[in-house]
Symmetry: D2
Subunit: 318 residues, 4 copies
Amino acid sequence: MAGKWFHDAVSRDLVQSHRVKTVLYSGRSKFQSVDIIETPGLGRCLVLDGKIQSSEKDEFIYHEALVHPVMVSHPEPKTVFIAGGGEGATLREVLRHRTVARAVMVDIDDEVVALSREWLPSWHQGAFEDKRAEVLHQDARKYLADGKERFDVLIFDLPDPVEEGPACLLYTQEFYRLAKERLNPGGLLVVQSGPASWLDFRVFVAINKTLATVFPLLCPYHVFVPSFGTAWGFTIASSHIDPAFLSARDVEERLEARVGEGLRYYDGFTHEGLFLLPKHLRSRLAQGKRVITDEKPLVAVASKDPLASWPMGKPSGR
Amino acid sequence: MAGKWFHDAVSRDLVQSHRVKTVLYSGRSKFQSVDIIETPGLGRCLVLDGKIQSSEKDEFIYHEALVHPVMVSHPEPKTVFIAGGGEGATLREVLRHRTVARAVMVDIDDEVVALSREWLPSWHQGAFEDKRAEVLHQDARKYLADGKERFDVLIFDLPDPVEEGPACLLYTQEFYRLAKERLNPGGLLVVQSGPASWLDFRVFVAINKTLATVFPLLCPYHVFVPSFGTAWGFTIASSHIDPAFLSARDVEERLEARVGEGLRYYDGFTHEGLFLLPKHLRSRLAQGKRVITDEKPLVAVASKDPLASWPMGKPSGR
Amino acid sequence: MAGKWFHDAVSRDLVQSHRVKTVLYSGRSKFQSVDIIETPGLGRCLVLDGKIQSSEKDEFIYHEALVHPVMVSHPEPKTVFIAGGGEGATLREVLRHRTVARAVMVDIDDEVVALSREWLPSWHQGAFEDKRAEVLHQDARKYLADGKERFDVLIFDLPDPVEEGPACLLYTQEFYRLAKERLNPGGLLVVQSGPASWLDFRVFVAINKTLATVFPLLCPYHVFVPSFGTAWGFTIASSHIDPAFLSARDVEERLEARVGEGLRYYDGFTHEGLFLLPKHLRSRLAQGKRVITDEKPLVAVASKDPLASWPMGKPSGR
Amino acid sequence: MAGKWFHDAVSRDLVQSHRVKTVLYSGRSKFQSVDIIETPGLGRCLVLDGKIQSSEKDEFIYHEALVHPVMVSHPEPKTVFIAGGGEGATLREVLRHRTVARAVMVDIDDEVVALSREWLPSWHQGAFEDKRAEVLHQDARKYLADGKERFDVLIFDLPDPVEEGPACLLYTQEFYRLAKERLNPGGLLVVQSGPASWLDFRVFVAINKTLATVFPLLCPYHVFVPSFGTAWGFTIASSHIDPAFLSARDVEERLEARVGEGLRYYDGFTHEGLFLLPKHLRSRLAQGKRVITDEKPLVAVASKDPLASWPMGKPSGR
């Protein structure tokens, strides 16, 4: 373990450590700490507030899993709204769909977007320059509250609700109600909904429970993302479309008509398997009670640094 | 990260670290190093040759995923053979099936089994005392080669093929051929087949390719096991039964008739989802070329300790 | 860094990690957490509240450096009082001096002493059985306050003043005043006084400053102890004897007459070098202002575990 | 231990870890890997081949301890030769001596020097621009072998003799013989001679033994350098001057006449204490047998990375 490493404290009892080749960028934006590191195992990685957001080597898994199930489930998605998604890879996947005429991406942190443009070209692949895309830097909630525009698909690709972090009020019942009002009839919403692991399902269960108070139909699913070291949860919510009813063949036909070649993670069989969660996760979801509200928001990672609260007195010794 | 930790070197670029409450046992059997540690996150863990084999908190996921899909896929499994499985939890899951009249478990390492009896009671739960069970300590390959007995289901719950480790020749084409001869007509085999992650699929692909040279029908599947920090692969092989053809309802009916209550990970929906691997893993499996043979066995973890080959000369300095 | 390691958080920015062969004992006494670990580099180690107290391989450096300079500086030390010193090695070194007729050791933690008797035989080497020794388990301050006995030499071999730990009030001006009253005329006191490193001298400076308010003559010194990863401070205090005035030859003569063979760290030349601190440490000592009192005790290590204050909410993710 | 850390593998059983604020530079020169990191505990650090060479916060200890004892011991040092010393701090300390008319510094790695000029201004403090200094980038041994110039003081501030590293043949008997020929009558040599710790004295002992075959008078000394986590050894060698004969007063007088104010580590008392090594180190030095030769050079750190020899086969798992 000699040399430079990045340690991701998954919990206070579990740490995942990645060897670092070099640190390409290290700083703080107005909203969060930002590191861009190069690792031998994962390639380039974006790290916000000490957590890996995505890695060059496996970001396709996360971003395809986030975008395509919801997009394919919609009969003809023309307008898409993305909250977050600073790397540009969510936008990239959305724009693969030829049905899309307009994609609005609102990420509050313009510095992260600028750094991604510079350092993460294989993520955005020019998506920011696509004429169908509008990229704005403001609070996504305010944007939806102030505007009147409705969308076919909403994609919430937000960082963790860190205390006083930029995404704290983007996981609440009130925000999901607002989101519902910005959906066209027949529209769908997808949310990245946290780790979906037997050791860590608190956030996943709470987000699903909260969505269930607003939307009649929920489709939670989970995907193993190697660079996270855990299975990751997503949830599609809608008024009446159930993605799980699409067969592998349906999915393949829609992909062929709308997207064509180029997907690596997602296809018809993948879609069919997605929504069949194992029994223990289904039972946890069924037991969820916590509803997240503006008044009692979820604070998933209260500390950006497990040692941050180390007492001031220098430890001395033996 | 102060205090006692167990570091699991997943690769030379990735380390997973678990806080240790205490080390209950630490020693070497004739075949491998053995640690039994107590952790706050995972409870008790069995560690062989430096790798966590299973943890109190989530061993049910691994063991149910290993045993029930193959058992349920068989029309009426009466005789079962287990290679490995020293903790006794695989035997425990097998014996849940009321159809089973005889379960032979052959684990070469009697010390690991004795330590598991003493330290891991929640794993075996008395399975070793069940009258239907016969537990032997010898080489599983020799046992199958010398005997004439045939079984309905074979379960290979073996540790990694570490060089000169006990399981080195239990992953080869020759061994799978032998296994096939010990199956009753209509019998099935299941193998734990290594990590099934985009970052680490070499072993999984090779085992599947090798099995494919011996068995006409393969059903690979993968399951996220939190304590491993990765998705784990399994493969069911048989002459003509395809587990993926069982519907959720079929599975539920068989479970009700044969097992009853008590499963936490596995049920009908879980079964249906299992065999629908995502596209990138399916494409890797399709590209597999390496066939494992006695002459060229797979050595997955060549070093039990990443620092083992540190040169003898003490490093000195600056 | 695979396998079992013990991480000693020297500060929040510096961690020293020792490979662990096995954990021989792990528990909590009434006063502190206790681990006895076996390491390949240091042999057996006693760990209290997460800090290595001494290691088999180099405890001779610490214990000889603590005991002999003060003992040799006294013209004829007959009675010795030890506060702390649970491993028995301080007592062992004291009893090497044939002048000693009585050695009273008061360590509040009878469990640590019992564990040391069982697990650390090379430390005490039978010292506990010596007829000249009396070993008591009570509060050292109370013992000195209640008793009337005076001693030639007092040795304070105490753990860090951890908050609410057993040694919190054994580093204060009031305690040193009491200690002075329990010294025979011409008696000397030695205190282990914390790390004496340019990166960490706060405790060392404060203890010296506090002692200086009570004793007219101070001799601070420091010794590199490999298992601590730092230079360690000690201070001899007295009314009129200055150990630095003893020449190497004086020391050799006294050692020959009183101790004989067997020392590994300490001799005449070592003594001469001890009290010649480098300029930067002398200047720090000269600038010390903080006086430790019962009302404002020094709390060197406020947290036994740098992660202890990790917030309750499980961190979740990305 | 979350976040970015630099792990310094002191040995295969001991790792020292420094929290990293950022990595200012990371690359490879023609000769070695180079990192310049910013840490909260040590400030800026230069890291060559994975080992901290010096830190902003305590480099004064190392560089003053290297330069001044030998300079002060010479009656009037006018010409000085430095081998290595890329940071420029050794040159800085040499040039403090007003007696010096010419200082030749030969460091083979021009890239390290250029990086030091850019990133380590508090190290060189303009020394490279001093008119008395000549800085060359070539092999120090070749320079001494080809030239005829003789010097009053030689200072060998070289990195470890890593295999095939730049300093491999700068620790041998043959090189020291050559060095002796380049000394003016009455000249002295000082060598940084590796860690001088009870846990790690192999290099220190071998360098001293080798020097003893060439020079009649040796003065080994050691200094605790916090950023190294260990005591560091140095050796002054000469034909007839014994630095240990200088009293504190002699040293003070020479410093006043030649250097003036500004030293933080070194003064008269420091000098007096330096050469009085503790008994256990003296006895190790007395037992040294290994003589380093061109044919059998010392390879202190055979591996720059403890995981470098990790086998190619990806480890797989359980």
